[in-house]
């Protein structure tokens, strides 16, 4: 099965074979990072616009490097210091950019559905680089690639996702992806950050960290946004860290010795992860970042590359 979609919007849309195609393609592209000359001509003559309406260093840089290694022309557009700050609407800005004939627009926006909105309105390919609390499919794909590299397979693995599930696009994309690949998922956090009816997405819920991390293959810790405190969802960072922060003690007392610790970054050291855990032997956090470039190369290649290849 080849890739047939115009856009990559959400893991919810994909079936298992499409997810595996993306992960497999990324796995083969990983070796480019090890070359002395990190450049292949796959997307030569293609234009990619990174349309970022929300701050992001890691994701934007990762997409930019991925595009450049594939020889595409990559243009970065961020909302600050642009027409958006002059009051132009998102959809107008996007239509103006589309009028310059890019092949792919990579979009990051604080509103859920922003990528769908562009996909409906623009004829170029759209990649969702995170839309509000909805989805972040390339993050889930890089997480999946990381897991497979370390565990060798997906089927039957168990994962705990810990933290602010309600506001996490990373959690949603991973839940969809992991469930489709036969993994079991437990989400855990204080009840105020567990969204209602989340069990209907096919996950279990735990309200104690100890229950969540016992005997799982992977622990994915989420970043706690500081504003959750002022919104009354948690009483204090101190209390959150005490009950939900993953420390070496808790890890060694409850988790399996071969557990993987993951985090989408940026890490709040000392809050959701103690430094010994973040930098310790279980952690694959930097490996996730490395795999991110390969995954984004795979996505850009499958969306923009195949058509060009047929013509050539």
């Amino acid at each position: 099965m080849g890739w047939t979609r115009k856009d990559l919007l959400a893991m919810r849309d994909l079936d298992a074979s499409e997810i595996l195609l993306l992960v497999d393609t990324a796995a083969t592209l990983q070796e480019i990072a090890g070359r002395e000359i990190k450049k292949v001509p796959a997307l030569r003559g293609k234009t990619i616009v990174n349309l970022f309406y929300e701050n992001s260093t890691r994701t934007r840089t990762s997409f930019e490097i991925a595009g450049k290694w594939l020889s595409a022309d990559v243009v970065n557009f961020s909302a600050g210091g642009s027409s958006a700050s002059k009051g132009e609407s998102f959809i107008d800005t996007a239509k103006n950019i589309a009028a310059m004939s890019p092949d792919v627009v990579v979009v990051r926006h604080s509103s859920a559905g922003a990528a769908e909105l562009l996909a409906r309105n623009l004829s170029c390919s759209i990649v969702n680089a995170g839309d509000g609390a909805h989805e972040h499919p390339t993050q889930a794909l890089l997480d999946l690639l990381t897991i497979r590299e370390h565990k060798g397979h997906f089927e039957g693995l168990s994962v705990a996702i810990v933290g602010d599930i309600a506001h996490s696009r990373v959690a949603r994309s991973n839940i969809h992806g992991m469930r489709k690949l036969g993994m079991t998922v437990t989400v855990a956090g204080p009840p105020t950050v567990i969204p209602p009816f989340v069990q209907e997405m096919g996950v279990k819920v735990a309200y104690r960290l100890e229950d969540a991390i016992r005997d799982v293959d992977v622990i994915m810790m989420l970043r706690l946004q500081h504003e959750r405190m002022t919104n009354g969802l948690i009483p204090s960072l101190r209390e959150y860290s005490r009950y939900w922060g993953l420390t070496l003690d808790k890890l060694q007392a409850q988790a399996r010795p071969d557990v993987l610790i993951m985090h989408p970054g940026p890490v709040n050291r000392g809050i959701e992860l103690s430094p010994e855990v973040a930098d310790g032997p279980y952690s694959v956090i930097l490996d996730q970042v490395t795999k991110g470039v390969a995954v984004r190369m795979a996505v850009l290649f499958l969306l923009a590359g195949s058509k060009g290849a047929e013509q050539a």
Binding site: R12, A112, A114, E116, A133, H134, E135, P196, F197
Partner: protein, 424 residues
């Protein structure tokens, strides 16, 4: 001018009539309803064979947007839309700019309606100045100027003490307060119903409890004050239960439901279509089923559209930033005939009653029945007409509907106000 409507199926719930009869109109009023009235009696004869002749439909919840938002709708365009949708009268909400919180605005709306209005227009006055929820508007003067009810619709009056005083103060006017029941702390930031769909989409949701809490509060305040409280756009099963219990205890509470809360659920939001965004939001399938039951059994007194026109630019952007609300005047009757009456879920006579007799009684408006002497406001339906909802053809200035492209059987055939045909 006289008009004889011959051979239609006349459905007049107020007079327990459902039979093929003729209706004779003279001097803007109903003259007679009966079998085989002589055609010579009328200047004009209208053959309504195969059609359904009803008392004129009344929509007690419409946003005409004038003054202030004429780019969305005007009295002229909104009343044309009403006529095209089979409505002979509308009540317009106070959230104009400036707000209809003083008599000069009420006078302006009525003057506009007298000159440009195609159907009857009854203004609803604001409860609080500027819809600020802090000080009462000059309610007595608004009543004198012709406001038929009071509402801060679009906003919930969170201060129970102030709302209590509004209910007490308006008691002598015989005009109810209309509640937009929404606990604004529970709904802060929300763009849709809180449930499994909002969880999957990562969109902030408002729980049904935000509505139920305020419906419960307003029922208690109605009990405390003896006032008539009307609950706008009921959308939850819990609110239905509260209204049903309150009515059984004799509390003066009434309620309305919109066609979209009967016909759509939160699933319509899955594509992030801003035309599925309204307040209150589309709820669960269970809520929609309970609302329909309540409309059939009379717990819910009437259907109202909450016609809320918005410009395209206010609906085309990011979902969480899009305006709340949809237009409803031109689709309500056809959709309910097709999706509720035709499959047998809602008896025709009940629908007609909930659109005519019941809203008229609720607000003490003229019309709503076809007894001799009543205003000659009639809606004639063609139950067999097949059509497709095409927003481009709306009379309304706005196009924000989630029903575009829906195939529909049944629609208004003619709308008659004061004996004159205003839509055909």
């Amino acid at each position: 001018m006289s008009l004889l409507i011959r051979n239609g199926r006349v459905v007049d719930p107020a007079n327990s009539l459902d039979a093929v009869q003729d209706v004779l109109i003279a001097g803007g009023r109903i003259e007679r309803v009966g079998r085989d009235l002589p055609p010579a009696a009328a200047a004009t004869v209208l053959d309504a064979t195969g059609k359904i002749v009803c008392p004129g439909f009344i929509d007690i919840h419409v946003h005409l947007r004038e003054p202030g938002y004429e780019y969305k709708e005007t009295v002229a365009s909104g009343t044309r839309a009403a006529a095209a949708g089979g409505f002979t009268a509308v009540c317009c909400m106070a959230n104009t700019r400036p707000v209809n919180d003083n008599r000069s605005i009420t006078d302006y709306i009525r003057a506009k309606a007298a000159v440009e209005g195609v159907v009857r227009v009854y203004p609803i006055g604001a409860v609080t100045r500027g819809l600020g929820g802090e000080e009462l508007a000059e309610l007595a003067e608004l009543a004198e100027a012709g406001c038929v009810a009071f509402s801060d619709d679009g906003k919930c009056i969170m201060n129970a003490a102030l709302y209590r005083r509004a209910m007490e103060y308006t008691l002598p006017f015989g005009a109810p307060v209309i509640s937009h029941a929404e606990d604004q702390h529970l709904s802060r930031g929300a763009s849709m119903n809180e449930g499994v769909v909002s969880t999957e989409l990562g969109v902030a949701g408002v729980p049904a409890a935000a509505e139920d809490i305020m419906v419960a509060r307003d029922i208690l305040l109605a009990e405390l004050t003896g006032a008539h409280v009307h609950i706008a756009h009921l959308s939850t099963a819990g609110a239905v239960r509260l209204v049903r219990d309150a009515k059984a205890r004799g509390v003066r509470v009434t309620a309305e439901v919109t066609p979209h809360h009967l016909l759509l659920t939160e699933d319509a939001v899955r594509s992030f279509d801003a035309n599925a965004k309204m307040n209150p939001p589309l709820r669960s399938k269970h809520d929609a089923e309970v609302l329909l039951e309540a409309l059939v059994d009379g717990t819910i007194d009437c259907v109202a559209t909450d016609h809320a026109p918005h410009a395209g630019s206010e609906k085309e952007g990011e979902f969480d930033r899009a305006a709340f609300g949809i237009v409803g005047l031109e689709t309500a009757v056809g959709l309910m005939l097709d999706r509720l009456v035709r499959p047998g879920a809602l008896p025709l006579a009940t629908l007609i009653s909930r659109l005519s007799r019941d809203p008229a009684r609720l607000l003490g408006l003229p019309g709503g029945h076809l007894a001799p002497g009543a205003p000659a406001d009639l809606t004639i339906l063609d139950p067999a007409a097949e059509w497709t909802v095409d927003p481009a053809r709306f009379q309304s200035r706005s196009r924000n509907t989630p029903f575009g492209g829906w195939p529909v059987t049944g629609r208004p055939w003619k709308t008659i106000v004061g004996g004159g045909v205003v839509f055909e």
